[in-house]
């Protein structure tokens, strides 16, 4: 097949679930013999949308990558004003929705390239739903557009402009069944769709002890890897860990090992409990996970979680938020994790995992079995190819 992926940002050092997903899809499909190109912007930072990479064409891991400059200079004041209204739990008018979307890395040249590419590829595949590359880009040739929305239950998903784009696409590909159910709730009737998911490879060699020595970390650890920001409930996780150490633990404190992007603004009193490793290699991330009691993800806006699946690959159970249908469902179906909705439940779950090694091992193994059965790359790519073929036909 000839496929063109359209993403707002692309590159090995780009942090973000959807961006990583597309990079994996593109690289692995290219390795499997498909002709894959990626249309993306020159931006690296999704908060500034400044052109960081050079415009033009490059080959990265067998994928033809074409970068276009962001043409709409981000109006930070307007975005802040709109964001303030959204944060207050209120809605915005259609003009503000469009303004917000246009300030998420819109590239006129990329839209023109999408139009030209549409007739020479079997399908244009857009991800994720939130940015101009998808909301405006998939409207250029909706008949050729498949969207991998990576949908979250959040204010942006209720934008009329977003719903319109999703409804008019040729097809949708979801990462999980709860994400598909969310789309049905938000959109009513949805275009032809499939649930594909994300694949994982078993890490080849993981040495948690070497990680501990290298990073001088002792005692029990829990790990969070990803974007360290409010939208992922990272501050709540820090609060729970601090509260656990200060008042709720029956087994003493744990250290929160955290990797990924975003600033870690930890209160002075909790600094000793948080080990911020910043951006680390995939190998070291797996080592950090394998050295931990549990992966911890309290985000309630997930369409899929890399972290908990990577934890399961290492036989490490997960603690997730009960209000996140996707992660909660994954834990329940796999038997690989526990879900909580308060600081006390977080503490109780963590205490159990620390005290009861059999429980920890059983949960971790159940998760590992599940991820190897359902989310091996072989199975996922077969589902993806089948989904694209069925939609474009």
């Amino acid at each position: 097949m000839k496929l063109a992926f359209v993403v707002p940002r692309y590159g090995t050092r780009i942090v973000g679930g959807a961006e990583t997903l597309v990079r994996e899809y593109a690289t692995r499909l290219a390795t499997a013999g498909h002709a894959i190109e990626v249309l993306t912007t020159c931006a690296r930072d999704h908060t500034t949308w400044l052109n960081h990479f050079s415009a033009g064409e490059a080959w990265e891991s067998g994928v033809r990558v074409r970068r276009f400059p962001v043409s709409t200079r981000r109006d930070q004041a307007a975005v802040a004003r709109i964001q303030r209204t959204l944060d207050a739990g209120l809605c915005i008018d259609p003009a503000s929705e469009r303004l917000w979307v246009e300030n998420t890395g819109a590239s006129q040249q990329m839209f023109e390239a999408i139009d030209l590419a549409a007739d020479r590829v079997d399908a244009l595949i857009f991800a994720p739903y939130l940015f101009a590359s998808t909301v405006l880009g998939a409207k250029v040739r909706p008949d050729r557009s498949i969207i991998i929305p990576c949908l979250h239950d959040e204010a942006y998903a209720r934008f009329a402009i977003v719903k319109d784009t999703l409804r008019s696409a040729a097809g949708l590909i979801f990462n999980s069944a709860p994400e598909r159910d969310l789309a049905r709730r938000l959109l009513g009737d949805i275009p032809p769709h499939r649930v594909v998911g994300i694949g994982f490879d078993r890490p080849e060699r993981v040495d948690p002890d070497a990680f501990r020595r290298r990073r001088a970390l002792a005692g029990d650890l829990v790990v969070y890897a990803g974007r360290r920001e409010g939208g992922k409930n990272f501050p709540l996780l820090v609060e729970y860990v601090a509260l656990y150490a200060g008042a709720l633990s029956r087994s003493g404190p744990v250290t929160l090992v955290t990797t990924g992007s975003g600033s870690v603004d930890v209160p002075e009193s909790a600094k000793r409990l948080v080990a911020d490793l910043g951006f680390v290699s995939a190998d070291e991330k797996y080592e950090a996970i394998a050295a931990s009691i549990a992966t911890t993800l309290l985000s309630v806006n997930e369409s899929f979680s890399y972290l908990i699946n990577e934890g399961w690959l290492c036989g490490v159970p997960a603690i997730v938020h009960a209000d996140c249908a996707v992660t909660c469902n994954a834990c329940e179906r796999s038997g690989g994790g526990l879900w909580i909705r308060s600081a006390e439940e977080f503490a109780e779950a963590l205490d159990r995992l620390r005290i009861d090694q059999d429980l920890r091992r059983d949960l971790g193994r159940a998760g590992q079995t599940w991820v190897l059965q359902h989310n091996s790359w072989h199975a996922v790519l077969a589902r993806l190819e089948d989904a694209v073929r069925s939609i474009v036909q």
Partner: protein
Amino acid sequence: MTVDAAAIVAEIEAEVARRRAAGDYPLELIERLRTDFRVTPNDEPPEALAVVESSRALRSERLVVGPAVVFGKRVMRRLLAWYVSPIAEDQTRFNLSLLREVRAIERRLARVETPWAGSTASADQVIDSDALAAARVTAYGGALMAAGEGRTLVLGGGPSLVTRLGAEGVDAATADEPAPAAGPARRCDPLSVLEGVPAASLSGVVIAGLLPRLSPAEALRVIPAASAALRAGGVLVVDGPLPTGSGARAHPAGVHPAMRRWVPPETVSLLIESAGLTPPVVSDAGRVDGVDWYAVVSTRPYE
């Protein structure tokens, strides 16, 4: 390997509940850290007006000195920005919080005041099925017979329920409008019917599957109205889908599109007790189309 994570989570929840009840947790500290996870509702958007800008576009209509005037205003604004901007931000925060509260009140009011709504004939056919009518008659036909002579008013349940109760010897009548040429009868508004019935004139009232379709305000009025319509010794029956049955739907609209909320038998019992009827008896009213139904039966006491 299978692990019942849900069972472990249930154990954790129970342990936390036990420890909370025992006062094991420093409540003051935990309350301070509570985080509210809220899904943004789909409201109308006059909200954008709530945002107060500390600066607006500067312009002048004067031909010659216009640019100088605009420049002067811009300088003045820059000089005052340290004072004006924080005030504008404070005002915006206040406006937004006020709007949020107004929206919350609007939603609560809508829930309380939603008036009775009709429904499509095809939807009514689902919950007025003959199978459900048969189960209903088995559950409470005997209680209605025991009430003795007199008319029993059947609200909801459809013609099949009336026919089957009649076959059991109950003098049953419905207030539903007669069936048109095609399709079943049009469902009556139970509250307006009951409030129009003469006091102490009925030996039985059956409110079949209607309570989940009423607003809370209507639900609070309908049981006293039924009680007033009953003579002493008359029987009141209220039935509805069980929210916790094995085949329970995620939302009552899955049982019938006009059902807005679950009304569990415990709530019905409380409403009946507060209306001055005898202590209610809750029973199983059968299982139809994967949904369990309950019936609550009570009697108007003799003075």
